[in-house]
Amino acid sequence: MIKKIFVLLFLFGLSGISVCIANEKTESDAKERKEEKGEKKERKLKSDSSQASDTLGRNLKELVVTASRPGQDVIPAQTLSGDELRRLNSNSVADAMRYFSGVQIKDYGGVGGIKTVNIRSMGTNHTGVVYDGVELGNAQNGQIDLGQFSLDNIESISLYNGQKSEILQPAKDFGSAGSIYMRTRTPHFEEGENYHARLTIRTGSFDLINPSALVELKLSERVNASLSAEWINSSGKYKFRYRRVNPAGELAYDTTAVRENGDINATRLELGFNGSLPSGSWHLKAYNYNSERGVPGAIVNNVWRRGERIWDTNSFVQGRYNGYFGRFSTLNNVKYAFYRTHYVNNDDKQIKVDNLYKQKEIYLSSANEYEILDNWRASVSYDFMWNTLDADVYGFVKPERLSQFLSFATAFNLDRFKVQASGLGTFIHDRIIGQESPADKHVFTPAVFISGNPLRNKDFSLRAFCKQSFRMPTFNDLYYADMGNSKLEPEKVTQYNVGVLYDHNSQDAFLTAARFSTDIYYNRVNNKIVAYPKGQQFRWTMLNLGLVEIRGIDVTGMMTLNPLKDFYFTLRLQYTFQRAIDITNPADNYYRHQIPYIPRNSGSVIGNILWRGWSLNYSWIYVGERYNQQENIRYNYTQPWYTSDISIGKDFRFGKVNLRGMIEVNNLLSQDYDVILNYPMPKRNYRFAITAEI
């Protein structure tokens, strides 16, 4: 109890003086900020990125603008971008995702630990992750490890429930139950500028060495290029503690140990070209990520170290072309990806494993929109995708998948109401070696989005959507050794959401911005793919067995105050309530119990102060009690956790060079917690960063 009060006092103390610039902004803000006239459709390409990171003064102004354009999208997204993103104590995209409402992160701990995101309890596989306009795929297990994406070159992260409410987008983007859009920095040059360069060095706990560099060049009036490179090296070692007391309050055990085999050595290289055309634009990107990681594994009795290692090579090239011709617009994407995963288990107490997995993906997409009337638009998109997985595993069937996606969408903008409707047809054909291929699958999934300002006041709006989506069983679900089950059907999700938004902005007032939103939702997961036992020890198969019902409320609030000149104070709150229950079978002893690792209550608070180049950021994350297995009994109970992170930054200017220093303290109160059972998280840890930019 004393600890509890302390936490609260501490928070009040800080929230009184802290600020943040994080906000829920709409994707279309980019549109408002673009300088080009006439090309009204260029919103997707226009990046707000370069503007956001030059000098602090400009940033501020910009961020205020950012918060001031609500309601352009039918359903606004939650976005973190620019400096606000940089000020959060986050190592990776997954860390930053913790500040979004309705999101659960599975975090296995440490710099190299796997981190996956689950939106509104529907399951990680229903989350689409889009990197610079093209969805990242993993046909093998359907999960994207967001821990692999460092924030270094990321300009903004947006979370869309349902789908991004654009109609000019690839057909696949209509397919996920929720999507995360990551956008990298796009060069933007002022008059007379020909290049930008940035060098950052981060170091800190876990023996972290993390230098990164960015060079942007203006090649011609219409073409520019950027190269971003990063190296992360960390021993991944951290202290963790397990402590138990008996009911009489006496200490039972208290042990502190060092997390082993969590090291990582990774490089990232990204090369991009951007060009503008008289009636459109193009973008080319090459991406390469290479890593060697230890897999720290579960801490169980008598086992404190494991011998699993993973080498990942993820490479892709992607290109995009946008064109605008009168009432007609087109968006075309191509991508080729190659993922190589080498998994080794060296533990001499266990079965030796040394497997190599190779995935290839080819993706082609064409989205086309026509403006039928001034307030009525319609689009057709077609995507083609080819995936293969090869592995040197006994009896591996080398699956190959051809997917085709065809979508139709339309948008009406009436006076005070906006309506969007879309339908996506998905056609999947799998081919496997040595066995009969499963039957082709066709799924149709519709969605409707509505928003409006029922009051004359533009600050207040209502929104609602309902959407069906599905996820295909992954290659692992279908074909993995004798665990896979090629008869699996797609897992379907239906979502209903209604919400209100109040958003008030006044440029130079004391209360610069205030925003409040609430969404209530009901989701249903049918045919959920679950592991089912085959009788002998730990032999499983996959079945379409689950039925899950999710009811939730997401609440976000934000305000920015400007009480003194150059003094900005922002507070952002986010809260999620979720009741996600398993209603598969009344005979199960976990019938109507909360599904594993979904807290009923979770939330975060971010406070931020900006004053003449200084920034102070405080964030508090809370994840309520959860159960680590289906049954909500005390043997499966997992305690709530809450961590306080704090960072202080200062901007300097030496002639043409902008310098920024940052000190971060994470888990300030050194709480000992597990996000996932038996995967202990680090105690208090530190990070220091210095960035030089010209």
Partner: protein, 375 residues
């Protein structure tokens, strides 16, 4: 702000307590029996560290669930990860904890920890003349690092020191001792599709492997009956070759065991009392995407199936995945555990020897191995 306040006030961390014991009143009391009760090991799913120990006391009629941590609060991270076998020898209780690479030794009456024996990837435990024998997937010397053979470790039951070890076949499972020879079922489960198919014979005097008897692929269980015949199960390859039950016996005048019979049933696990061998089998059917579960009784003298089911009151329909079986040595009550979906509490069923359900109780995750505690 208020919401956040509410969370802050209600949902705080508390000191993490030692895992508490839960009690259920069963009421099946029996004061006169020479059996005081029984222990049940719940395996717990891999990586969950939820291997737990339950005890049923015939003197009080109380079922104690998960009592290890409360009895031994100072043991860091409790009993461990994936229990695989249990045995009582003299006054000591042994629990083999597979993924914690140890055999936990407790006082058989109190459950208080006496010590542990570190054996990598240990599987099953048997006892013979003052020593405990533990099979392990990992051999003492890695002759062929790509495919290390398994081993049997000999452990002194007073000092808990490993005294001898012998290399056997690949991934050895259960053992049984007949006339100074130990018979070890080798599975070869790490070598899919090249399963082992032999029973290793160890001469106990010099603790050497003297023979490997070919029996069937992927062997698992070995039980001896009162005529010193061995009943050995094969798991099959889960695809085309089904699970089978083999009988090994000595020819008259010879000291070598040979396969005398192949019983044409699938067998996952068995328990023998007197002349009756109770078995069940769980077989996955790819075509129907469901498990086919069967039960039966075999007469060990005639080697004939005398019953296709020892549960007579229809309760078998409630059992999702039978995972453990035991027969009360005095009353003949039959115990069957249900592991359900492996990641939720299982159920222990007690049937009379006529096959009618007497009682059932909630257990830990994956209830599997039972040992009776003599008075």
């Amino acid at each position: 702000m208020f919401l956040w306040l509410a969370i802050g006030l209600t949902g705080c961390r508390e000191d993490e307590l030692v895992v508490p014991t839960e009690y259920d009143i069963i009421g099946d009391e029996n004061y006169r029996s020479d059996i005081r009760g029984f222990y049940l090991v719940n395996e717990g799913n891999m990586g969950s560290n939820k291997c737990t120990l339950d005890f049923y006391d015939y003197r009080t009629g109380l079922y104690s669930r998960n009592f290890y941590a409360e009895r031994n609060p100072n043991v860091i991270k409790e009993l461990g990860d994936v229990g695989n076998d249990i045995g009582i020898y003299g006054s000591k209780l042994y629990v083999v904890v597979n993924c914690s690479h140890k055999v936990e030794v407790m006082d058989a009456r109190t459950g208080v920890r006496l010590g542990q024996i570190d054996i990598p990837n240990c599987r099953y435990v048997r006892f013979y003349r003052g020593k405990a024998y533990v099979s392990s997937y990992v051999g003492p010397v890695l002759i062929d690092p790509e495919a290390p053979k398994g081993a049997v470790f000999e452990v002194d039951t007073t000092s808990f020191a490993i005294t001898r070890k012998v290399s056997v076949g690949y991934q050895p499972e259960e053992m049984e001792i007949v006339d100074d020879y130990m018979y070890v079922a080798n599975s070869g489960g790490y070598r899919v599709p090249d399963y082992d198919n032999t029973v290793s014979v160890i001469q106990m005097i010099d603790f050497k492997q003297v023979q490997q008897i070919p029996v069937g692929i992927n062997l698992h269980r070995v039980k001896k009956d009162r005529y010193n015949k061995l009943w050995v199960t094969s798991r099959g390859d889960y695809q085309t070759r089904p699970s089978r039950l083999y009988v090994l016996d000595k020819r008259k005048g010879y000291n070598q065991m040979i396969v005398t019979d192949t019983i044409p049933v699938a067998c996952s696990n068995m328990a023998i009392k007197g002349d009756s061998l109770y078995y069940y089998a769980t077989e996955w059917n790819n075509y129907t995407s469901s498990n086919t579960i069967s039960y039966g009784i075999i007469d060990v003298r005639s080697k004939e199936i005398i019953s296709k089911g020892f549960i007579t009151d229809g309760t078998e329909k409630d059992i999702t995945i039978p995972y453990g079986i035991a027969v009360h040595p005095e009353t003949g009550d039959i115990f069957v555990t249900d592991a359900k979906n492996y990641v939720s509490s299982g159920t222990l069923y007690c049937f009379t020897k006529e096959g009618r359900k007497k009682w059932s109780v909630r257990t830990g995750d994956i209830p599997a191995h039972i040992v009776f505690l003599p008075n």
